[in-house]
Symmetry: C2
Subunit: 213 residues, 2 copies
């Protein structure tokens, strides 16, 4: 199968997210313009995406949600279980653990790691916390594909290196430090504090502009 570009994958996941909400609200069909508005893309983009699927919609009712989701999941191949590990059981780490506990049957955090002895050998949100020294052994044994980094900035690169040695092929780094991974490992870096600082910067600018008007 051909590799779907990152932006398309992102849109497909957003479609899934929205369709799931609609299905829960009792809807059976969806119009492309509704999808476009919910996901924040143009209706043309949605229609182009829809050409990837063997999906029959009608102008009166739109597209059948259940079939649409089946097609999306087939493209995203997320019907099989993907195992993940989490490094750093601080506040953000705990928030992510608790989120994934029940909501995502096909995405499971199979083990968490921390260096604080107060936290190891305990269970948070159904997930066993081990000492960080055991990361490579446990992550390779479990065949974890994804690593989530929520350690402090100074420990982030070391954490990523250990994950790569353990065979992880995708990393999401939440530590406020830019890390590097070898080719063949997907990396996404999300700096929550930086986003909030940026919003504060532009909010100040916007306030100033309004005052000067």
């Amino acid at each position: 199968m051909t590799r779907i570009p990152q932006r398309t994958v992102e849109r497909f996941f957003r479609y899934c997210q929205f369709l799931h909400t609609r299905l829960e609200a009792g809807s059976e069909h969806v119009f492309s313009h509704e999808l476009a508005a919910a996901v924040g893309v143009s209706p043309e983009q949605v229609r182009r995406d829809l050409m990837n699927f063997k999906l029959k919609g009608t102008p009166q009712r739109g597209y059948p949600i259940q079939e649409f989701m089946t097609e999306l999941y087939a493209h995203l191949e997320s019907s099989s279980l993907t195992k993940m590990v989490l490094l750093g059981v601080g506040n953000l780490g705990k928030a992510i653990l608790s989120y994934f506990l029940k909501r995502r049957p096909n995405l499971s955090i199979v083990a968490a790691f921390d260096q604080d002895p107060e936290k190891t050998n305990r269970v948070y949100s159904g997930c066993q916390v081990h000492h960080i020294g055991q990361l490579e052994k446990i992550a390779s044994r479990e065949k974890a594909a994804v690593g989530i980094i929520t350690v402090p900035a100074s420990a982030a690169q070391e954490a990523a290196d250990a994950l790569v040695r353990a065979g992880v092929k995708g990393i999401v780094n939440f530590a406020p430090a830019q890390i590097k991974v070898p080719a063949g490992v997907f990396l996404d870096q999300i700096d929550i504090t930086l986003s909030i600082e940026k919003a504060a910067y532009f909010a100040r600018k916007n306030s100033l502009k309004e005052q000067l008007r």
Copy 2:
């Protein structure tokens, strides 16, 4: 003063972040190539950015960190207090509250809001939690400039609308739903789950490629 583009602002904040770490580690000077490596941009980009500052470096020692930070903060105007409010005191909300409690003297979350009566009229990480119904009153009284949204997807747009009515000029939305804000309000949307799903998708692809090699 001219408006600095968003990517530049982001780099400037990353420079601050790295310089802060270096200063704490006892360094007094930094080389542009060190900055480039830490922030993940080219040395040429760093040198272009440095031309904005009245900063004198030497080839032997690099740039003086303390002066560099003073110049950066002057550009980012973050020496005055920016007030923020947070909506939704779940796990992620609590993680953000606890992060901002001590670490950022110029960025303060002055009030938090939730609809759960169990959480209101309590203090989390030094921040008073009010009922969501009081948002507009309190956020306008406090002149909050920034709103942080950590409510469920279904409540996100409503939360954003209330923030805009209260006069907030910058929003960071962590709810897994695309929201809309009027012109003049900065918006950043961070979907943590989506990033993890995307990493899982590309990790599966990368594993497959390795097996086929």
